[in-house]
Symmetry: C2
Subunit: 490 residues, 2 copies
């Protein structure tokens, strides 16, 4: 807290890294690529988990837990799946250490596994191997299961929350008796994610489908929600996959239908991760620190006393504690910070850095006047108001902040979504303004790859409910019936 | 559900294994020693987590998350710690797979780690390496952090919930400025565990300290809660460790005290795991299935309709749904099971197997009489009562069941805690009655080991607030000032 942040303007990436540290969210660990999520960052994850978990349960899902380890042979069973994950797998080969006699701890070569185990990068294979034992008939379907877990994908270039070798996530894995039912589930969960992003994270998202190139390894269709960060780069915030019968075939999972016919089971999987915390930070925060939407803020209201004597502090504390109790009754999380070793200005800066949505200050004059100073983090507006009716005022203010943050992010996205009608225009927009670029594309993986290689922009998605529009691919000039959304992305 | 369980009398171990399967709690996975926790079993874990998490937060702790992997060198830093865990460590040695060109997926030898990584069996080392960066002064203390996580200890003989290679747990890791404060924390968390065991799990526990032989690897003192299972074997249900300055010294974590003196930081750690689910099952359940304490039951009340026509079902459903809504308002979790493919008797057996505390049945005669049949799982008592005042009756019944289960388990433990005053008596009690045996011991590790080798009984704990009593060690005859508690244990 000793000094401010590098500004976003100056160096967005540096701003992000400093902010994650100074807001006490997370730090790099001694293990390459693995992060430590500190209590303040983890509290945001807990709030996300609680909201998402309720949404999953409200849509009929239960939680379960599957093994951390996956036998190597399971990976080979679904060809495109193993191809997608093989290059980033942590492999367990031994199950014992020993002392070499000279006081050194070494791996015991007598304890080598017959078959290596992979630390799960995702759990389709171990779960579908398990589902084989659970499913015989249509009566056993659907299976609607979710798992909260850690996963490992060996990344060489890591950034806290955005890309780490180990991360926390949830992965839903469902099994269905028909293709249609599985597709409906895939779409339902995409909508749950979009709802969560917009109404909890205050993060507007585009709902869409990935192109074949960008699909999950093993999926027939990958749906996604895409958000725009303040530096004009896109971030994939959640994915929902229609897996068809690929994993059922790989693990031989069949069911007898109502009509007595034997068929392979239909599957979906869907996940969001601690990456969302990175999105939350990058979408809303400013050069003074985090800006958190009230619905996910670990502390929604902080009260800081400003006093010249112990006697004055006592009087302020009495008011603060009564107020805190009233707010708690309304399920508003509140902290009264009466640490006597720090000056109010220092505390103000700390809670700005940590993105606490509402700050209250009570000083000597407020005691006399029955007032309180109230400051909102997002706009930094301050007001001195009467303590009468304060709780109701704060309730409304928290709603207003939640909505304002969303609207601000939505305006930003709208201002930064532009159409390009030629490759020249496309490249210029990318380099000068970034943001989403809506453009015609001929539908081939080759053109998509060429654009990626030449500009680092990828097709973020083909938006759902896209309007049809005849046009020509910006690269090849071939006919196209709809625009797709490009961006450089995290 | 097709047939009943082996009885406890016949084969307790077999009874347990069958019950875990038939109650849909968990199953073995394709990965040696790792279990799949099924939705019904996981729902119990979620209820345990929610209750414990609140207790941790009410005592000032926050959650955080530390890496799954621990560099091998970290383990070597605390000598007794590595000795305790080295023989059961899963070791990651590579970070990539590849296709060998013949379609086989093999480990890529070009992707060998410079230093092997251990999948955490417990996190003291990685956490104290992290705390080094968090602690400079007494102002940074205490650190009161908990982590919910998976851990791996390579076990050769596994049993669902009781002993598995991977299990879920929480591990608290706290840092303090004085020995006294750390000891107080150790004791406080033991009391939290005892409170949880007794008031949520309905499981009476003995609070005590482990002998030096049985301490956690790296601890100066290990406190524990010990419970008695229905077969007379003991089960360690939770431990809280006073670690002294061992880990601070191993990772060089010092702080400046208020007086300006530099000293090593004092530590505690404490944990409970999914093993508690095994304890819950074994302590209360009977030959018809699970008996769950209402406070942890995923379904507290089930309603089963008994009908001869669709018209009758409609009337019953109307009543059942209204009742379910009223119960939900009281935060009672309720399921209305109107599946039309199964007979009521089948459903009754299923909910008995799953330990649902209260079962309601509504039939044709109940429609006429305004009554309902209510059955409690623990005693299997049934009553037909008026629907008026039913919600209040159920609320009281759930409290009564919770208390009854606890009292039954407490009576069982009291009846099965016996004094032995000679080694002969000790061995006879062990072989004929099992249970806890309270006996004098000379305080030496050698005698303790001899007893263990000869009888398989271990000292479960030296009870806290043990009364002093002069006596003689049952083995050596040497003088002793207090009895300690022995048992064969899980």
């Amino acid at each position: 807290m000793s000094k401010g942040l590098t500004s976003r303007e100056e160096d967005y990436s540096q701003w992000y890294n400093e902010l994650v540290g100074k807001a006490d969210m997370a730090e790099h660990s001694a293990v390459r690529g693995c992060m430590v999520i500190k209590p303040y960052g983890y509290a945001i994850w807990e709030n996300m988990q609680a909201a998402l978990d309720k949404m999953f349960k409200d849509t009929g899902h239960s939680n379960a837990y599957f093994p951390l380890f996956i036998p190597k042979s399971f990976f080979s069973k679904e060809a495109s799946h193993v191809e997608g994950f093989a290059t980033e797998c942590a492999v367990v080969t031994h199950y014992r250490l020993k002392n070499d006699g000279n006081g050194n701890i070494i791996v015991d070569e007598d304890a080598k596994l017959e078959e290596e185990l992979i630390v799960r990068p995702t759990s389709e294979t171990i779960i579908w191997n398990t589902y084989k034992g659970w499913i015989q008939s249509y009566r056993d379907l659907p299976i609607l299961v979710n798992q909260w877990a850690n996963v490992v994908r060996w990344e060489m270039r890591t950034r806290l929350f955005l890309r780490t070798a180990e991360f926390l996530w949830q992965e839903g894995h469902t099994a269905h008796a028909s293709s249609q039912e599985a597709i409906e589930e895939t779409e339902r969960m995409l909508e749950v994610y979009a709802d969560f992003a917009e109404n909890w994270m205050a993060l507007p998202v585009v709902r869409g489908k990935k192109t074949a190139n960008e699909r999950f390894a093993g999926a027939l269709d990958t749906y996604c929600i895409e958000a725009l960060m303040q530096d004009g780069k896109a971030l994939q915030a959640g994915t929902s996959h229609f897996l068809g019968q690929n994993f059922a075939k790989a693990f031989d999972v069949k069911f007898t239908s109502k009509e007595g016919k034997l068929d392979y089971v239909w599957a979906t999987s869907w996940g969001v991760s601690t990456r969302l915390i990175g999105a939350l930070i990058m979408a809303h925060s400013d050069d003074s620190g985090l800006i958190l939407p009230p619905k996910l803020a670990p502390i929604q209201v902080v009260i800081v006393p400003i006093y010249r004597s112990d006697e004055e502090l006592d009087k302020i504390s009495a008011i603060a504690k009564e107020l805190a109790a009233e707010l708690k009754l309304k399920n508003i999380s509140v902290k009264y910070d009466d640490r006597d070793t720090l000056r109010p200005g220092f505390k103000f800066a700390e809670y700005e850095m940590k993105g606490v949505p509402v700050r209250l200050a009570i000083g000597g004059r407020d005691l006399e006047n029955g007032t309180i100073e109230i400051a909102r983090r997002d706009t930094k507006e301050k007001q001195t108001i009467s303590r009468d009716g304060l709780v109701l005022h704060i309730e409304e203010l928290l709603v207003d902040i939640q909505n304002s943050i969303f609207k601000k992010a939505l305006n930003f996205r709208e201002e930064n979504t532009r159409e390009a009608n030629s490759y020249e225009e496309f490249k210029e927009l990318l380099d000068t303004k970034a943001g989403f670029i809506s453009a015609h594309w001929d539908g081939t993986p080759e053109t998509e790859k060429q654009i990626k290689d030449e500009t680092k922009a990828t097709i973020r998605c083909i938006p759902l409910n896209n309007k049809l529009e005849n046009g020509h691919c910006i690269v090849t000039g071939n006919p196209s019936t709809q625009r797709v959304l490009f961006a450089r992305a995290y």
